[in-house]
């Protein structure tokens, strides 16, 4: 990928686009070289779901209720599968650590010298990376979803829901990107961000709904009268990177609530984008002041 960095010249739109295209092609080639690893790796990522499904099946068999927090057993299976899909959009493997590394080893310098915007560059690279990922991952994903289509509730969602679902996916990509990028920019202030990243991953895993549907937290009190933990989580950015899109598809969020939630998600995207930009400005100023 370092070749991609070098290739960026003072941009004209066309030049920028061409660079991006080259980047896309290189990362596709990279993927194809390791395609065996890749397909296997993607399929393996579904394995934890298998255990989760069995765990929930066992839980349902032992309780007499037909649903838990509004989810039937099939809903739960469908939920976990959908979070895999949303994670494919919102997760940014290695983004934060690579930004922090480029700060630490000084390779970020060239973005201070060249007339290229670092954040835009990273975003373009990530889009290319994701596109390539989808191009190859569509095979294992398609196979799993086809095999498991029986778990999805029978009437397919209406057009509005599908539109909201797609919108939430796109927003989750941006949200995931700006959150991780901001995290990586902390490298300007801290030498070692890996533990911060790990802490973030923990919180993210728990509160994004990756581990279980956030609705399960509706019964957990926060101490404030009438406010459950789930209510608090709805106002945090995390659930929009996994739980939310899945809940939209399953029809758990509808009407004004859906509009509200999309609004919160969009607001978080803006907040994180600004935070990322500010962190970059301040960070680079600090960096040049201290001489890296």
């Amino acid at each position: 990928m370092s070749g991609g960095f070098e290739a960026i010249r003072p941009p004209g739109r066309l030049q920028g686009l061409r660079t991006w295209w080259t980047m896309l092609k290189i990362s596709l080639e990279e993927r194809l070289v390791y395609r065996g690893d890749f397909v296997l790796g993607t399929l393996m990522r579904f394995l934890p779901i298998v255990t989760q499904v069995f765990l929930w099946t066992a839980v349902f068999s032992a309780t007499n209720r037909g649903d838990i927090a509004g989810y039937s057993r099939n809903d739960i299976v469908a939920y976990y599968l959908l979070t895999m899909l949303t994670r494919a959009f919102s997760s940014m493997p290695g983004l934060a650590t690579s930004i922090a590394r480029s700060v630490r080893d000084g390779s970020v310098k060239k973005f201070l010298i060249q007339p290229v915007d670092y954040v835009s560059f990273l975003l373009a690279a990530r889009v290319a990376h994701k596109l390539v990922y989808y191009a190859v991952a569509v095979v294992p994903f398609g196979a799993v979803f086809l095999l498991c289509r029986g778990y999805f509730p029978p009437p397919p969602p209406d057009a509005t829901t599908i539109a909201a679902f797609l919108l939430s996916l796109a927003l989750s990509f941006l949200l995931g990107f700006f959150m991780e990028a901001t995290l990586g920019m902390l490298g300007f202030w801290f030498m070692e961000v890996s533990s911060i990243v790990f802490g973030y991953m923990l919180v993210q895993y728990l509160l994004s709904g990756h581990m279980f549907p956030i609705d399960l937290l509706a019964g957990v009190p926060t101490g404030l009268a009438g406010v459950s933990l789930a209510d608090v989580v709805h106002w945090l950015p995390f659930e929009y990177t996994a739980y939310f899109s899945a809940a939209v598809w399953l029809g758990k969020v509808q009407g004004t609530q859906l509009a509200w939630s999309l609004g919160i998600e969009a607001a978080w995207v803006v907040v994180m984008a600004v935070a990322c930009r500010v962190a970059w400005r301040r960070g680079t100023r600090r960096y040049s002041a201290f001489g890296g």
Binding site: D37, L40, G41, M44, R45, L47, P48, V50, T51, F54, L55, T57, A58, V59, S61, A62, T63, R65, I68, A69, E192, S195, F198, G199, L202, Y205, L206, M211, F212, L216, L217, G219, V220
Partner: protein, 272 residues
């Protein structure tokens, strides 16, 4: 044998010195692994607010289930502390040729490859596991008989041995292929199956899966057998599980040893 113990102690001492040199990092590692663990415990607590049992009539109600989780914590912390850091480093050693230095030393290569690095921070989880086990067992309806207490440590060792065999086979694959990123993911996903009681794997898909994970890759015996012995009523049938775990542990050690030796014979060494 004495010499190997002495060398292991030297490794342990060196790793401890190193950990203490980078104290802050060491503490962070403890904290993060404890954080990860407590998150999982919180999830199980949440699940038990919706059900009294994992699987109908399986006997895995709250306290026995937490005894199960504690057993898993203990076994995994041993594996994580002694074998995983070395095995993970193996990729780097194969890539840079560091394995060459291992091979010229008059010492069993498998020993060096799997035990030269000890991660003391992993014992934090094990300590919590022991505490959790004591808590869970004291609150169970039935107290484990002495024979269960006697068998428990042995079965923990068997569980560790089964996982160790798997680590060594992954190491062998690393030596043959030169890289192994998805192999270690595979390790993570595979051991994932051992995290829950075997009873949950039932039905047309679960049954065969349970068979495979018991007899082909005996991953389900790792935690289940010791956990059953301590957390479920001890009956004559329990001996079957004990025998299976002992046999699986022995087989795992032998097979992995053979595979590893074969891999070493085909080692290519990185060009310099």
């Amino acid at each position: 044998m004495n010499r190997y113990l002495a060398i292991l102690l030297t490794f342990a001492r060196a790793c401890l010195v190193r950990d203490m040199t980078f104290r802050a990092n060491f503490l962070l590692e403890c904290v993060t692994s404890l954080g990860w663990m407590s998150m999982n415990l919180a999830f199980y607590l949440l699940v038990f607010t919706y059900t009294a049992e994992i699987g109908k009539g399986t006997g895995w109600s709250k306290e026995p289930f937490f005894a199960f989780v504690a057993t898993g914590l203990i076994i995994n912390s041993i594996v994580q502390a002694f074998f995983m850091p070395s095995a993970e480093e193996l990729t780097e050693m194969v890539r840079t040729g560091g394995l060459d230095a291992v091979l010229v030393q008059p010492l069993d290569a498998q020993f060096l490859v799997s035990m030269h690095r000890i991660d003391f921070s992993s014992f934090a989880n094990g300590a919590v596991g022991v505490g959790l086990l004591a808590w869970a067992v004291s609150r169970m309806d039935h107290a484990p008989p002495p024979v269960a207490w006697a068998l428990y440590p042995l079965l923990i060792v068997c569980g560790v041995a089964i996982l160790y065999g798997l680590v060594i086979m992954l190491a062998a694959a690393t030596i043959l292929m030169g890289r192994n990123q998805s192999l270690y993911d595979f390790w993570f996903y595979l051991t994932n199956f051992s995290r829950y009681p075997a009873e949950i794997y039932s039905g047309p898909w679960g049954g065969p899966l349970r068979m495979i994970c018991t007899f082909v890759i005996p991953i389900l015996l790792v935690v289940n057998v010791p956990a059953r012995v301590i957390a479920q009523p001890f009956t004559g049938e329990s001996w079957g599980g004990v025998a299976a775990a002992v046999i699986a542990a022995a087989a795992s050690l032998v097979v992995s040893r053979i595979v590893f030796q074969r891999a070493l014979a085909r080692y290519r060494s990185a060009s310099s």
